[in-house]
Amino acid sequence: MSAIGADDLAQAALETVREASAATRLIAADEILERLLAGGFAEQLQTPAEADPCLWVAEVLSGLPGIASFESLSGRTVYHDPALLSRTYARILDRKDATELLLAEEIRSNSRDYPRPVPVELFEKPPFNLAPETIEAALKALSFGREFQDITAITTAAGAVYLFSNRYLERGYAVFLAEQDGSFAMNP
């Protein structure tokens, strides 16, 4: 393939990922390949018969700056442009059909990164949009799962429920942060 052809292909791959990210969608290599073929890049994508063209696409994408990828829950590698679709949001999208994991990982990342417990109502709002009974069922399931034993619920003096991971936050500190969070409206 000529250098110009390779550049065009890389640019087209980049645009494909960006389009998907702008539409709040993760995209896998096979879908990118499909778009590139439809976009007239069949010649540049010709590979030996035994080679997987998706791997070729993956190689092209790995050389592009600013494109992030991770292995999705489906096992496929998915791509996004973090400038348009953040890493945080990408993970939420990936886990949207796995409620228990979604809750657990979101609770963990909040406990680890900020650190803070999160109010249970967080998951009732967009982009999670989970019904209270769905959240309740998921939390119950988490309490039975060995790999989720770090997920802990606390109730503040005002009756609000907060969730945290004791892997990253000590209970006493989580209680303090939850009470503080609940008091912000009284401390303007």
Binding site: S21, T24, S86, Y114, K125, P127, A158, G159, L177, D181
Partner: protein, 705 residues
Amino acid sequence: MAVRSGGFAGKVLRVDLSTGKIGTENTLERYAAMLGGAGIGYRVLWDEVPAGTGPFDPANKLVFAAGVLVGTSVPCNGRTTVTTIFPTCWPKPLVGSGHMGGHFAATLKYAGYDALIVEGKADRPVWLMIRDARVEIRDAGHLWGSGIRRTTLEISQEMGADCVVAAIGQAGENQAPMGMVVNSVSHSAGGVGGVMGAKNLKAVAVQGSGAVRIAGDKGEWERLIKFHLSILGGNNQHVVPSFPTPEAEYYNPASRWIGQPGKHWGAAKPPVAITGNIHDPNRIAYRTNSAAYFLGDEAWKYTIRGNGCTACPIRCHTMLKVPSVTAKYGIPDTAQNTCVALQFGRLFFERLAGRKGGEAAIEACMVGMHLADDLGLWSNYGQLQRDLRKLYEGGYLKDRLGAKEYASIPWDKYENADPAFLLDLIPRIANRQGELGEVLSRGTGAIFDHWSIPEAQWAEDRTTTYWKMGHPKHHANEDDGQCGVIINTQYNRDAQCHSHTNFVRNGLPLEVQKKLAVAIWGSPDALDAPGDYTPANVHKAKRAKWSLLRKELHDALGVCNWMGPWAASPLRERGYAGDDSLESKFLSLATGQVMDREALDRAGERIFTLHRALTIRDMGQVNMRAKHDIVPPWIFEDTSGAAPFTKGTIRMDPADIARAMDLFYAVMGWDKDTGAPGKARYAALGLADVGETLAAAKLTPEEGK
């Protein structure tokens, strides 16, 4: 600065209500070094109001001052600072300022004035009419006794719809220390309404047909404005949304950036849906909804829109329409406000105060806003409400009020969290009616004086959030450890400083905040996670100094310290950095005279130090450390017994706080033993005359020891 500098309007208006004399003076000749805002106010008080002057004496002066950036296109520039001898400061009134947003400041500058100095006392009720160069003292006999809304309406009908009216209500007329002045119907400055009342000044109304000149390069100015908009977050400069968005790596459920696509301003006609990319600078005004933040999601359906101050895209002044309150309480169904003023009514009720939500809470807010903003009654940052609750719940009132008066108050409505209770209580206070109304109208200090209640009963009780001198904490150790404590020791009222809390509550992860701290204050140790405090260090002291100076600077520039400084931003590509030199860049372009960040911070330090000097002079006391910079005992306690510096407590350690103050005094260049500046420090800041006067009175550390 050149005499024909941009930014400044150029004149200060002076009105003597005793003699009727009206005059102007050149702003830059006399006040250039103090910039504007409280800087001008402090200078006037220092030069012209003798120590010992009472707040309601004709010799006291009221200085309404805009700032250098007011009336330009700089975002969030609508602040007016009203400086005077502050009447709720206890046990002795000292210098203080009330601050209001709205449109008064910009209109004053468009009329040609950087500040208005009101002195003396009229022999009858008057209002002040300012229409550019035409200034008249007009009779207010027909307005006296009216509420703020009626006063505003009548003056507006007389002057024209484009005037801005700053008026007092009955509380101010009655010289209640808790009176406030309100402009544009709902933008209030606390504590100064009674001073206006004592001068028989019902209102100041302004019309201006001029403009504020930008002396620097206009293209550069426009680029800087666009940049500033790009680094704005939501209210209080919370730079991450409260919900995950595709565009943001971070979110924080506690953020005041709550305007999420899909939400509606439900009471707008037709309802307005929030759509599109909420990170777009053109959608900043959708990010904040103070009512929904403080009252919960139910408030969205009552929201008409966000309102606010001159050139401010944040629109934190949420306008609500709640139809049920008209039939139930006989009040208008629309009201608008923000923060504590929005919650004025709800906070009186023990049952409503501790949680969000509920129709009763929203209705209580509506009744509270209606009454407080019409009668002109201030909350003292919610201390009025906490005082009432403690007085009632603690049995103080039953023990102390006469049986007849006690029985006349509908306590059953209080117990039931019935907003109708406010229809009885708030007018009592504004009208200084009965013993309860009289005492509460004077502020927290009057509770101690009148009923011989030891101040310690408030200062030892964390639930009161009482700090000192008749005033509560304002973002202290609960938000920001030693930095918050230092800041809260410095003023003669609640600190009203948001520089520090806007940073620690900005919503970014701690590690990101610490990276930003390295760039601004030289160390990641300049801040801790809330409730995970480490011992005092010099970087925290530097951050406390920075916070205080920026607060003073914002008041002097007329930009909003409830939003600034802009130390952080939502921009990932900037590593979430804001721009710590933004204020100096704007000022340089506005005036055409380059002033870098350090030079501008020195101006802020000059202003802050003059406040210190005024406090020292009027207290007649050089030992600020022992007599002024005090903290309440509750900060050294924890109900669970947790020791200081353990995770999950805001308990401070006395020795560590003493060290924090040592470090703070050192970074300020003040004497460690007294916490007072010496003559050399005053001189270094361009206040040599102040230092000499204090030295002559033995009120500098060298002379006073």
